[in-house]
Symmetry: C2
Subunit: 495 residues, 2 copies
Amino acid sequence: MTAQTASAQTASTVDTTLAAATAAAPVMAAAAVADRVRWLRAAADAVDAGVEDLVAAALEETHLPEGRLRGEVARTSGQLRMFADALGTGALLEAVIDTADPEASPVPRPDLRRTLRPVGPVLVFAASNFPFAFSVAGGDTASALAAGSPVVVKAHPGHPRTSVLTHRRVADALEGAGAPSGSLGLLVGTEAGVEALRDHRVKAAGFTGSVPGGLALHEVAASRPDPIPFYGELGSINPVFVTTSAVKQRGSEIAQGFVGSFTLGVGQFCTKPGLLFLPTGHGLEEALRRAGEVGSATMLHPGIREGYSAGLARLRQAEDVEVLVDGAETADGVSPSLLRTRLSTFLEQPDALLEECFGPASVIVEYDDEEELVAAAGRLEGSLTATLHAQPEDHARLGDLVAVLTDRAGRLVWNGWPTGVAVTWAMHHGGPFPSTVGSLHTSVGVTAVRRFQRPVCYQDTPEELLPEELRDRNTLGIERRVDGRVTGDDVRSSR
Amino acid sequence: MTAQTASAQTASTVDTTLAAATAAAPVMAAAAVADRVRWLRAAADAVDAGVEDLVAAALEETHLPEGRLRGEVARTSGQLRMFADALGTGALLEAVIDTADPEASPVPRPDLRRTLRPVGPVLVFAASNFPFAFSVAGGDTASALAAGSPVVVKAHPGHPRTSVLTHRRVADALEGAGAPSGSLGLLVGTEAGVEALRDHRVKAAGFTGSVPGGLALHEVAASRPDPIPFYGELGSINPVFVTTSAVKQRGSEIAQGFVGSFTLGVGQFCTKPGLLFLPTGHGLEEALRRAGEVGSATMLHPGIREGYSAGLARLRQAEDVEVLVDGAETADGVSPSLLRTRLSTFLEQPDALLEECFGPASVIVEYDDEEELVAAAGRLEGSLTATLHAQPEDHARLGDLVAVLTDRAGRLVWNGWPTGVAVTWAMHHGGPFPSTVGSLHTSVGVTAVRRFQRPVCYQDTPEELLPEELRDRNTLGIERRVDGRVTGDDVRSSR
């Protein structure tokens, strides 16, 4: 097949897939909340039912351990069910009703009712490091479906067979549960992804991956004749700060936790801690060197491996950086590396130490005085997380550091580790650039749905033409903000 | 002064202004909710106290009538007070608390608490057509201040003295109420605005103006090394659909309302109805021709006037478009123009008829069959509003038209007119491109604040280091989502 033929085939596939999504969009938007809940549950059941096939395919393609993959399948179906539950409560619709005020000055105020409607077809660029939870049926897809938007996934090349298997199961389940065909489409190849992103039928996009990849796609989305929202989760350094008291009280436990966190999943998590600030003279070298015993493992795919090698070499070449654990890179895989430098070095050349190195490497930064930590935190770029290990006696003097860290990170972790992201209402997975781009929204947790919803206000609209969640009678039994107050009551309309 | 000197002066002013905003940001972010409420109220009072000076300056600069300007000042202070009230209820913080679950499977779940924090310094490009309500102390500024973000306004050149007067009063009032100096800055000139938009210290921007201007600034915001959210309200056609029954029942009232709406404020509203779909043989020509009696008025400034002339000429030159009211354009001002075409013409060459013509012009589109309206609506681009005039007996067959219109507009107006935007909780002012860009958010109403807030999640964080709205004791007495349910109760923490 010539390149031209391949390109024509891609164009035709993209067109067919987007046409199906576009046809599905109004059907999904008009569907009752209860129907959308049922679709999500059917998708969750299909993921669970397919666990053996799915894990077998992913085992072969990703080199991730079986236990992890089974856990990830459970998380994926769990996410779909969480969105179904939340959608059922009506909270995702943010229904607001302001009843008419004929006496309002200077002019009478009409009856105004606002809800959130699906944005239309959503394009999801799947991640490499979560073949289920951030892939075809992952969080972006689940939250867009919960919004009522059809989804077209651009499969990640790291796990093509897993993607096709997931897509077939979930698309069938959605259709079997009554969702329109075209609710979930799949595209393969970079060219197809970019072409879809340029297409006017796509109304929003989600992406999880590298900074350069994310920025390039963001630029495509922003420079369309009709720019669309692009939610990219890119790179994050996830700094960890440890106070002197914390080291004294539980230093070896912290060292052990840190080694576990930065080497988990071969360091292939966007929340991997990439910097650990420890007081000089912490005496934890031996405990930290145990990272050298973690052993070698294969990375997700050769591209990731190459990026990691280059990143690690860059860190090792930085001035005044010492190697604490000299990880091996063999044909079979990589083993963890741990570097060490001083805070003065970090402050002088932060750029060299601030770029995410995706894989099992991290840098210890040793400080002399806790007072310096605020300045160090001030040099950080945006991160998904920032972590503090401290003792109660430290709290009173940590206010400034907390303020700087919450200005630079989306999640502040206390006496814990950033890896392991609970999927709940309160979770936020997103932070200032470069950890995310184009987004004041999360890609994990219930509120991720808001990325794919747009408000619509109905002014003086007849009851029978309103969406169910905005009618006088609160038939869905949901919480609504009526005349400024949250209530589950019916509305006494003056219309 | 040479161009180079001017440019250096601009750079220095931008730098000073942004430095002040940057210094103010952490102080504002750390301030108690009650303090931020007090600042907003002080700003509102200052606007009201200055009404005589402000209206006098705007009268001279904008040619808008005094009554309108006084009303706009009241709306502006009213907006500031509305945001103060809403902030006081705590609802704008969307506080969410998921208490720890040590039994959660497969791993214990930490305590997670999410709130919305200010995004940091916000740049506001003021509009020409609302010298108060969308200008220095207007909706964008008020909502950003309510979020806890400092604001730098790029003044609109159409009303420079009004801008300076407003800025001086409101900045003084903010500082007088205890807000940090730098809470509200003012920049003058396109170069200063673009330079500020490129500056890394600016974290989000709002804009109200033309499609080309908005797209150019959006591109600047999106192509920064660290892209930021850009909320632009650009151009909107605001179609109005009238059923045959509605014409029969109250045709002349509708014609009168339409003339009032499209000529209001010399047609200089982003919600001006630019298309009116009427059934062929409506017999309303005489009522519509009364637009010719509205008389001539001066437009906001020469640039708007030139744009209007060009837009009107384009409409008049479109094929098969007939002039119903031949508006005059004299040295003193313009008087309304009304054009007429057939639905078949609209469907054949919609592009010529879909571009917003900012000023007192509108186009009647005559249809033969109501069934055609769904197809016509399908040809529309994104709009701030769409309006339907219908009788109860029409409702049963209008579902499809409503679905298409709510897919293309942010607000559906029933038996009313799109001009006149109530500032309430449920209002939504925003719609698909080109009516807004980069935004699933509103620029009018309480929820406008969300544009300038980013979520932060606190994991297992000690009570005394949490923001007040996330502490166990609900000292603010606000509504919070605790373990999935909205409540005003304290949290019984297991921490």
